[in-house]
């Protein structure tokens, strides 16, 4: 199926709004901490593809998720990670691209034993 347009050549003239070339060398990356829905949605960031995965662990997550009481209790060795639905094991030294993180990729992580305040995933 495609759009029905007045101009029969419309489809060939479409310029998607969020292609990689528009982000000044960055790519869009979404990160989501599962079972901690006090944070209402996944977080969006513009990251360079060469950024080491370690920067997410050391800087991004503490800055934006650190306010949650579960955060300091996370045992990072036990965390389960997916990138676009595929399981990964992060290597802090390697780049996002090395982990299969591309433009508009979604990184989800689960923290076993930690499922929200009082075990309630919606908090």
């Amino acid at each position: 199926m495609g759009v029905i347009a007045l101009d029969p050549d419309y489809a060939s003239k479409v310029a998607p709004a969020d292609t990689l070339d528009k982000f000044h060398g960055n790519q869009l990356v979404y990160i989501h901490w599962e079972e901690h829905l006090m944070f209402c949605a996944a977080l969006a960031f513009p990251f360079p593809p060469g950024m080491p995965f370690g920067a997410i662990l050391a800087e991004i997550l503490p800055t934006f998720y650190g306010i949650h009481p579960d955060f300091e209790k996370i045992d990072w060795g036990k965390v389960r990670w997916t990138v676009d639905g595929k399981d990964i094991t992060p290597d802090p030294e390697k780049s996002l691209a090395d982990h299969g993180v591309g433009h508009k990729s979604l990184i989800r992580f689960w923290t076993p034993g930690l499922t929200g305040v009082n075990g309630l995933a919606t908090v």
Binding site: G2, I4, M38
Partner: protein, 504 residues
């Protein structure tokens, strides 16, 4: 013509006698948008308009309503009507209305003017043109009504500018942009039928009853002034769908696809109303869930039973919307609590009595999933650590709302859906939003998503402060928690003066 003509005769002449077949230009050049959507019309004369309104009668009727409305607005201003509202928190519903809804009236004005110009049938053309004028009047009278509050309170001063720029206002804006960039028949089904007929009671009844319950007599008066227009609009909406389905069997699948799309689009926009009803009104009218039962499940159910004789089915995913009614307002209020620092209205945590009301109205979900969240936030606020989400949210490509909705049947897991188009990924909050994209990826891959636009550098800068400046937000007054707002302080001062005067 010696004899004065009756209304019916005048309408007949207006809609049948005045039209002609063009000869300098072929008709398909005069009406270039009439056929590309695939809708087939055999006989425009089969169009029935029960109102049969002529222009002279229209002007006379509207000007009388206008005179009455402005008389009330004048006395409201003279009598300091702003002091009679239930509580200062109520004004946040008014802010949502002027920034999110009134600009849609203007968009509807433009859309119906366009549809009216493009429809080859003179009956619907005239009805669409009258609705276009109504919508312009609605925009103007709403702005006049609410301008009185703008003298005293924050968040209303830049409503058209904000409508075009602020992240959550892209939800209603993109809804109408989508409709107005469709062909004239899709627009008539999108706005005339799905919005004005199927969903309108879930927009206007909550706002107008909310105004009545909360002492906002100015908005109530506007509501009355628009009421007779609304019944004309509903009639146009139902007439247009029946007409299309009666004209040709090939129209059914096209109309069904539009009904499915515009139900889901409209339902997502109405999520703003859901949170307004359940969280923003100091005196509650009814819960979103109750409103959904009455105005969609019952009224909509009867409507689609009636339309079944044309082969039309109820909109796809309506069962999902009904199941969501248990969660919608709580999840939406949480989005705005997360991001109040970037909103042009205030949020706050429900008080104990409000939590009790929510438990009673949502016995299956509130205590189990949402009360603990609000209690945690309350504790954090008490500890001097009011929760704000300091990263930007992922947005749904179709409805443009932060991806905050949970999996059907699992309120503890966010619902992620994805599609690919021209080598890029696209993310959606729901199956309904994904289907809409998959049907028209050419259109929706061009969505102006506020978060992505910020990262592209198109919204004033990279810091929140730059973006808020680009929104023309009065930082520290328009945004942040209700409890620290200047208008809360002003209201408290007024209340203290009142009790001092009363004591003397």
């Amino acid at each position: 013509m010696a004899k004065k003509l009756g209304l019916k005769q005048r309408y007949g002449l207006l809609t049948r006698g005045l039209d002609w077949e063009t000869s300098y230009q072929p008709m398909d050049k005069v009406f270039p948008e009439a056929t590309f959507e695939g809708i087939k019309i055999k006989d425009w004369d089969k169009w029935q308009d029960p109102f049969r309104l002529t222009m002279d009668a229209y002007w006379k009727f509207q000007s009388e309503k206008e005179r009455k409305l402005y008389a009330v607005l004048d006395s409201f201003a003279q009598n300091n009507g702003q002091l009679s509202i239930s509580d200062v928190r109520y004004l946040n519903a008014v802010k949502l209305f002027i920034t999110g809804v009134s600009p849609l009236e203007y968009q509807a004005h433009r859309g119906f003017a366009h549809a009216g110009r493009q429809l080859p049938g003179v009956g619907p053309r005239i009805a669409a043109q009258m609705q276009s004028l109504d919508e312009l009047r609605h925009a103007q009278t709403q702005i006049h009504t609410i301008s009185h509050y703008n003298k005293f309170f924050d968040g209303m001063h830049e409503f058209p500018h904000m409508h075009d720029r602020v992240w959550y206002l892209s939800v209603p804006k993109s809804f109408f942009d989508d409709a107005r960039t469709a062909g004239p028949f899709e627009f008539m089904i999108a706005i005339g039928f799905a919005f004005e007929y199927v969903l309108t009671n879930l927009l206007f009844v909550p706002f107008m009853s909310g105004a009545a319950y909360n002492g906002d007599m100015a908005t109530v008066t506007f509501g009355f002034s628009a009421q007779s227009d609304e019944s004309r609009h509903m009639t146009l909406g139902i007439e247009v769908i029946k007409f299309l389905l009666e004209q040709h069997p090939d129209n059914l699948p096209i109309v069904q696809k539009w009904v499915d799309k515009w139900f889901w689009r409209g339902y997502k926009v109405l999520g703003l109303v859901a949170m307004m009803m359940d969280y923003m009104l100091p005196k509650k009218v009814m819960s979103w869930k109750e409103a959904w039962e009455i105005y969609f499940e019952q009224a909509g159910g009867a409507l689609f039973e009636d339309l079944a004789r044309y082969g039309l089915k109820p909109p796809k995913y309506h069962e999902q919307a009904t199941a969501d009614a248990e969660h919608l307002s709580h999840q939406n209020w949480s989005i705005f609590y997360n991001y109040t620092q970037a909103a042009a209205f205030h949020t706050w945590l429900p008080e104990d009595d409000e939590m009790a009301w929510l438990s009673e109205k949502y016995p299956n979900t509130f205590d189990k999933y949402y009360r603990p969240r609000f209690e945690q936030w309350r504790q954090m606020e008490k500890d001097g650590n009011r929760f704000y989400n300091n990263a930007l949210p992922q947005l749904c490509q179709t409805c443009q709302i932060p991806m905050a909705y949970t999996e059907p049947g699992d309120p503890t897991t966010i619902c992620f859906r994805e599609s690919e188009y021209k080598g890029d990924k696209y993310h959606f909050c729901s199956d309904g939003c994904k289907d809409i994209f998959d049907n028209e990826p050419e259109k929706f891959s061009q969505s102006w998503l506020p978060v992505h636009q910020i990262f592209q550098g198109n919204c004033g800068g990279a810091d929140l402060g730059d973006v808020l400046k680009w929104y023309n937000m009065n930082v520290g007054a328009d945004n942040m928690d209700q409890n620290v707002s200047p208008e809360q302080a002003l209201w408290d001062k007024w209340q203290a003066e009142r009790s001092r005067v009363a004591a003397e």
